[in-house]
């Protein structure tokens, strides 16, 4: 079964704002794809366009080879979590899942199954208004999983979860992807995606900024740097400078070196009797990659701070 | 006015102004009141002069009849000013920012009252002015119907009093909204209380009906009466307005009592 999400030339304008601008990408199955971008980049709008909730001005969005709105039992093919808090507070959790299931002829037994899966079995009879943020999030997840769909689209699934929950969901997403499902996840926390996502689609101001695997992005990022702590700062700095690599002083007794491996620095130091107290390799994180990619497409930016 | 009160009033005024529905309701109040008054005046006519008798229509009342429907958006104004806080959760911000809950209610009520009075005055005044020529055209002229001008005491009382009535109505709605905290419930209750009885009371026989009309919240509309008639309530124009004021006071006191007690 085709489990791809394919978008071609998707455009959506709200008044004067171009929320989505000629977006084209495909999300394949068998892996976790992160869908990221700064606030207001158009992630939620894109997801709503894919689900047929909003109408695109131009372009096409196909899920499993056809438009979402043509599907007879959409919840059995696509499980979406757009806004976990979009639940009537006076409705019991079980009733919420029940009506969703009934809308797509999903057996009643699935309701208890997914409640069990997300750990909400004990509170199924409670009204959603009494749920904490984490519980609400889990309920939204349960709703997405109700139809056992091969495609999952989750908007900020880790929002509100405690550390244990975050570990749990990371495992869940990876296992779902390992089963061959298509998993699309948006997130603000790059640190979360680093351990979870295999592929990244980055958008900014409605436009595609990057569409590549995480490994590829990390590889293409600025080289790793090495943080060194030594009492012989001046000596080390001139030594490193002589090799052609760059070095920056970051503290009274610390420097950051780019262009040399830790082994090389250690060899140099020992060869010149320079004492090393700390030698740490700083690999580029996904967050670094992301910030670099989206630097030019930020709409709302807090005051820049020196990153030392 | 104390510094705290002044800050509270400013905060409430800014909130009221920035809620988008405020613009719509204000426009609706004026449009509906003036429009319906004008419509009724345009289609009404009298033969009093031809018959050579004095008619018993109250020209001033006839010029302000649109108020019956203008009540509906006015209720919305008063209710939404209060319930938009609960719906969007800003009430928590309000109460954290201004720890004195009663002061907040007072500030909110004041902001609503000022706005309602302003809009009500405009609606009332325009109603009167626009309908006069229409009524004259329909035969409401001397000697059966002496021309009424805005400078006559009775007209001033009616027009200003109508604005006050509308303000009381808006405050009634704010009070109810503060107690029930739910837009639908509040709007339903207040519109029901102000509109439905007029219709429902038609079912009751004459004396009972008159009694009910005098104690209903809509009794305040008697402020518009300028000429005594067979159906003039014994309480008189000011008595009626006092009844409406009493209803409003009751709900505001109820709101003050619940707002001080409940968790937010």
């Amino acid at each position: 079964m085709d489990t791809t999400i394919a978008i071609r030339g998707l455009t959506k304008r709200y008044g004067a704002t171009l929320a989505v601008d000629d977006l084209t990408f495909s999300i394949a199955g068998g892996r976790v794809t992160g869908f990221v971008g700064p606030n207001g980049a158009g992630k939620s709008t894109t997801m709503r366009l894919i689900l047929g909730l909003a109408a695109a001005d131009t372009g096409v969005a196909l899920v499993g080879g056809e438009p979402y709105v043509d599907k007879r039992f959409p919840l059995r093919e696509v499980g979406a979590l757009l806004d976990a808090t979009a639940i009537h507070p006076g409705r019991r959790a079980r009733d919420h899942l029940l009506w969703l299931g009934q809308s797509n002829d999903i057996p009643r037994s699935r309701v208890d199954e997914v409640l069990e899966l997300v750990g909400l079995s004990a509170v199924g009879a409670r009204r959603a208004g009494g749920f904490s943020l984490g519980m609400t999030q889990r309920l939204g997840l349960a709703a997405a999983l109700l139809g056992d769909p091969p495609i999952l689209m989750l908007d900020e699934p880790v929002n509100g979860l405690d550390p244990e929950g975050i570990v749990w969901i990371r495992g869940l997403l990876r296992s779902l992807a390992a089963e061959g499902r298509t998993v699309l996840v948006t997130s603000h926390l790059m640190s979360e995606l680093q351990g979870t996502a295999d592929h990244l689609v980055v958008i900014g101001r409605g436009r595609l900024v990057a569409d590549a695997s995480v490994d590829c992005l990390l590889a293409s990022a600025s080289n790793a740097t090495v943080d060194v702590r030594t009492p012989d700062v001046t000596a080390l700095m001139s030594l490193v400078a002589n090799t052609g690599a760059s070095v920056v002083s970051t503290d009274r007794d610390a420097v950051t070196v780019s262009g040399l491996t830790t082994e090389r620095i250690a060899e140099l130091a020992s060869g010149h009797r320079i004492r090393l107290y700390e030698l740490t390799l700083r690999r580029p994180t996904l967050e670094d990659v992301y910030l670099e990619l989206t630097r030019d497409v930020l709409d709302h930016e807090a005051g820049r701070q020196d990153r030392t | 006015m104390s510094g705290l009160a002044r800050r509270g009033l400013r905060a409430e005024w800014i909130k009221l102004r920035s809620v988008r529905s405020t613009t719509w309701t204000v426009l609706a109040i004026v449009a509906v009141t003036v429009g319906v008054s004008a419509l009724l005046a345009a289609v009404g006519s009298t033969d009093a002069n031809k018959a050579g008798a004095t008619g018993d229509d109250d020209v001033v009342v006839n010029s302000l009849r649109g108020i019956w429907l203008g009540q509906v958006p006015m209720v919305a104004l008063g209710a939404i000013a209060m319930t938009s806080e609960f719906a969007t959760g800003t009430i928590r911000t309000t109460f954290t920012a201004l720890p004195h809950r009663l002061n907040t209610l007072a500030a909110k009520a004041t902001a609503v009252a000022v706005l309602a009075l302003a809009v009500g005055s405009v609606a009332s005044l325009l109603s009167f002015l626009i309908t006069q020529p229409l009524l004259h055209g329909g035969g409401y002229v001397g000697p059966a119907y002496p021309i009424v001008s805005l400078t006559d005491t009775s007209a001033i009382r009616a027009v200003a009093g109508t604005a006050v009535y509308l303000t009381l109505l808006a405050l009634f709605a704010t009070g109810v909204a503060a107690i029930v905290r739910h837009t639908t419930t509040a709007t339903t209750l207040v519109v029901a209380v102000f509109l439905a009885p007029t219709v429902a009371m038609e079912f009751f026989p004459g004396q009972l009906r008159e009694l009910l009309q005098q104690v209903a919240p809509t009794a305040g509309l008697s402020i518009q009466i300028t000429s005594p008639r067979y159906d003039t309530p014994p309480l008189g124009p000011w008595g009626g307005l006092t009844v409406t004021a009493a209803w409003t006071l009751a709900t505001l006191l109820g709101a003050a009592w619940t707002i001080g007690r409940r968790d937010v």
């Binding site: 009506w99 | 439905a196 079912f203």
Partner: protein, 275 residues
């Protein structure tokens, strides 16, 4: 089964679950019943037989012309407020809570969803309306008799078996269903409970208030076009000078027309708007 039939079944099932799983539904249905019966009894106790002389001949001058059936069913004039509120909430709570997105993601065929929503709303309203009307009538009769509405005064005894009475009771229930759907349609159009309630109640009550201020022929036209005044003409069993000038079922048809137009408009808007 065709694609369409299955979808409507699923939509009916899920929308019914949604409606019955919020407490406001039961409360508003109960309120409708209580207010309808309560006000009906109030009116039944308050009316008197002014005009009827003992031993007069029904239908002839000298006999009273109160419509005992209509009077006992007059509670609907107030009870409908709760029905309108129920209809409005059935439409707006999905928008207020954001559930509308999940709904249209579950069933992308939006017109089917709206129709299902109005159907699951109408059914319980009709049922409770029937109960409320029948109870109002049955409980009101003894009171009216005590007040003097007896055959000797020109008021023959009536019972549920009489066709006009059955028509009045069923018609009242149908009216409540129609007005509930009207509120639902307005709520779907405005998406806001406050404005929907205000607009619907204004449309329902304004003509009645205005007709107190108008003369003929405008008054007659206004009443004929008004959803409530025409709609509740179905309760009439005694023609009177102040009766709404429209046939009993034709009147209900006017109310139904208001509802239908509003519902069609709502469906078109729902299909066109972004969720």
């Amino acid at each position: 089964m065709s694609n369409g039939a299955r979808t409507i079944t699923r939509a009916l099932r899920s929308e019914w679950t949604k409606l019955r799983s919020v407490s406001s539904t039961a409360w508003l249905l109960l309120t409708t019943v209580v207010v309808t019966i309560g006000f009906g009894l109030l009116v039944s106790s308050a009316v008197d037989t002014s005009g009827g002389a003992p031993g007069c001949v029904p239908g002839r001058p000298g006999c009273g012309d109160e419509d005992v059936v209509l009077n006992s069913l007059s509670g609907a004039y107030l009870g409908q407020i709760a029905t309108v509120a129920l209809g409005v909430l059935a439409a707006t709570s999905d928008y207020a809570t954001g559930t509308n997105r999940a709904t249209f993601a579950a069933i992308p065929q939006r017109s089917t969803v709206v129709i299902a929503k109005s159907a699951v709303l109408a059914a319980p309203v009709l049922a409770t309306g029937l109960v409320a009307s029948a109870a109002s009538f049955l409980l009101g009769q003894p009171i009216l008799h005590t007040n003097g509405f007896v055959p000797e005064q020109g008021y023959p005894l009536v019972s549920l078996a009489d066709p006009p009475v059955a028509r009045a009771i069923i018609g009242t229930a149908l009216y409540l269903g129609v007005i509930g759907v009207f509120g639902f349609a307005v709520g779907t159009i405005t998406r806001r409970a406050g404005s929907a309630i205000a607009i619907t109640l204004a449309i329902v009550y304004a003509p009645a208030i205005l007709s107190l201020m108008l003369g003929e022929p405008l008054r007659g036209w206004l009443q004929r076009l008004s959803p409530m005044m025409s709609g509740l003409a179905v309760q009439r069993t005694v023609p009177r000078a102040d009766s709404v000038p429209i046939g009993t079922w034709a009147g209900l048809g006017v109310a139904a027309a208001w509802s239908a137009v509003a519902l069609v408009t709502a469906i078109r808007l729902v299909r066109r708007r972004d969720a």
